[in-house]
Symmetry: C2
Subunit: 349 residues, 2 copies
Amino acid sequence: MVDRSRAKKTENSRPTIYDVAAACGVAPSTVSRAFARPGRVNAETAERIRQVAAEMGYRTNPLARALPTGRTSLIAIVIADVTNPFFFEILRGAEETATEAGYTLLVADVQESIEAERRALDRMIPMVEGIVLATSRMSDSSIRVAAKQRPTVVLNRAMSDIASVATDNALGMRRAVEHLADLGHVSITYVAGPDASWANGIRWRAMREATQELGMRARRIGPFAPTQAGGLSAAGELAATPPTAVIAYNDLLAIGLLRGLSSLGIRVPQDVSVVGFDNIFGADFCTPQLTTVAAPLRQLGKVAVQTLLNDLGGPASGRAVSRGPLKTALLPARLVIRESTARVEALAE
Amino acid sequence: MVDRSRAKKTENSRPTIYDVAAACGVAPSTVSRAFARPGRVNAETAERIRQVAAEMGYRTNPLARALPTGRTSLIAIVIADVTNPFFFEILRGAEETATEAGYTLLVADVQESIEAERRALDRMIPMVEGIVLATSRMSDSSIRVAAKQRPTVVLNRAMSDIASVATDNALGMRRAVEHLADLGHVSITYVAGPDASWANGIRWRAMREATQELGMRARRIGPFAPTQAGGLSAAGELAATPPTAVIAYNDLLAIGLLRGLSSLGIRVPQDVSVVGFDNIFGADFCTPQLTTVAAPLRQLGKVAVQTLLNDLGGPASGRAVSRGPLKTALLPARLVIRESTARVEALAE
DNA sequence: ATGAAAGCGCTAACAG
DNA sequence: CTGTTAGCGCTTTCAT
């Protein structure tokens, strides 16, 4: 039999339920219950236990709790690139929501590397209760193997069998195209991002459809890295036969484009209108200020975590295996019109 | 006696060292050693164990390992505001370094709230091996109580008794002032950030000293929120009697200032030169591009984590209680000259 | 409603 | 070098 009677063996170590139990004259299991499931213990006793525990400075040890139950109160979020402002607000939304529910976020920055993404997942999965994959570069099947191990929700991507939350890119694109049409443009060039990006595919497709419906022409160049550098290259490529309007895969690319165009003596928006995607930090202070399809960034992070928590069965409480029907949230995008788009002055191309 | 002989009780659950041990005909402790401290076990045996373990798909359970040892391989980083680009590169540097050493980052965004910071710490401390406080808003004494519980390093702050890593603000400020002096300015206005910010205090002090030595005048306005909005207000306040040169607490403030000044018809850099601090994302594409004192952001995150890991005694290995002398790293800042500063045209004020 | 006791999976003396 | 044996601190049947 274990001798639990000794006071916390080394004076400095934190008190355990055994110490509290001894001090209260109850069994350790009662103390455990008093904290883990109030209501399963006499109200008065519970109160007394809390009282004493508080005085002793007792805090339940999350590690010890996690071992038998698996409830670590940790959720992982893996993002393609912490350095990309696109993720700032997403992170905040996720963090906020997780914290409110008593969870802590484990974040992995995988620097756009599939390899790193896989490693991060390997490392984190055993410790977390759930995973949100923000803009994963992995294949659907790789995602599925992760999802088999822990509840998973993907951000900015759609998968038939995995909960997902994404921006309504089609709608956003539609608005952007309409805006350009209103300004008299008859042809639009899409400056593509990485082929591996789900959003890239869907945006291009949506643009083609929208232009078609509105009787406009669609062209496409790329792929380019979704960075300012990528935008610079794109500007070079565009310079030969500049279109009157371009829609870029994302704001980073668009901002690079702005700078590149400007340095080539092509004026925005007089010579060419450009619209970006996401409305990231900086879109409002680049020159000209960028017209862009704003993604509900914070909301995206928030809903992703909410969806996950829901799968986990409520805020850090007992698992209710009620995982409802597969959630697939599509959050609305809105067009933010600023200074980088204008009425077409000359005839299109 | 526990009956460990049964194969993994439920077929689906992951194999444990007991399963591997049984399959290899060795004791569980040997399997444990084979993974935890290779070298303490016969090379061949170890090899065989790894082999079998791999086949069975065994993975050591970090939770179980953590309970008896306290080695969670987790470190916490608490940052004042994930939404502030200042932290992007810091996060990346920290992440990178932690990952290389086999640690995972737990990040808490405390939204500039001391309250939230304290709560985050409470929540994370029991799970992590160490803490890095990036731009903490807490009092020194609050930091000390945290540091008493886990090895801690503070970022962008100096404390006599806690390891710290910061930018060499004094040097950076000196360079900025010299630059302005070179351009013929004889008076500089400091646009202050939050009083609670350690960096704010030190930057202002350094500016006063530098201007004094160079025979220039120093003025100060503020405090302002370290945001674009703050910069906008500052611009309003400055408009009455515009100085020829201002140094802002940070880039965010400086960018807001740029916009505010511009909308008030004050030209930068012709009418007033402005220099920022940190060289955050966006400083190179705002208009005009910002001259700024660049902080070694990524390096800051990296060194902070390295310092912490060092305190923990090597990369996820056994604790060597050799915590050397208190480390206080001061990383060099460099002045990045862009377009927001120019030779003074008229006589100063 | 509460107590007793058996683990969760791994590590760490302590023997041999 | 390897096996034995206690735990780490909490949860959770199963009795009472």
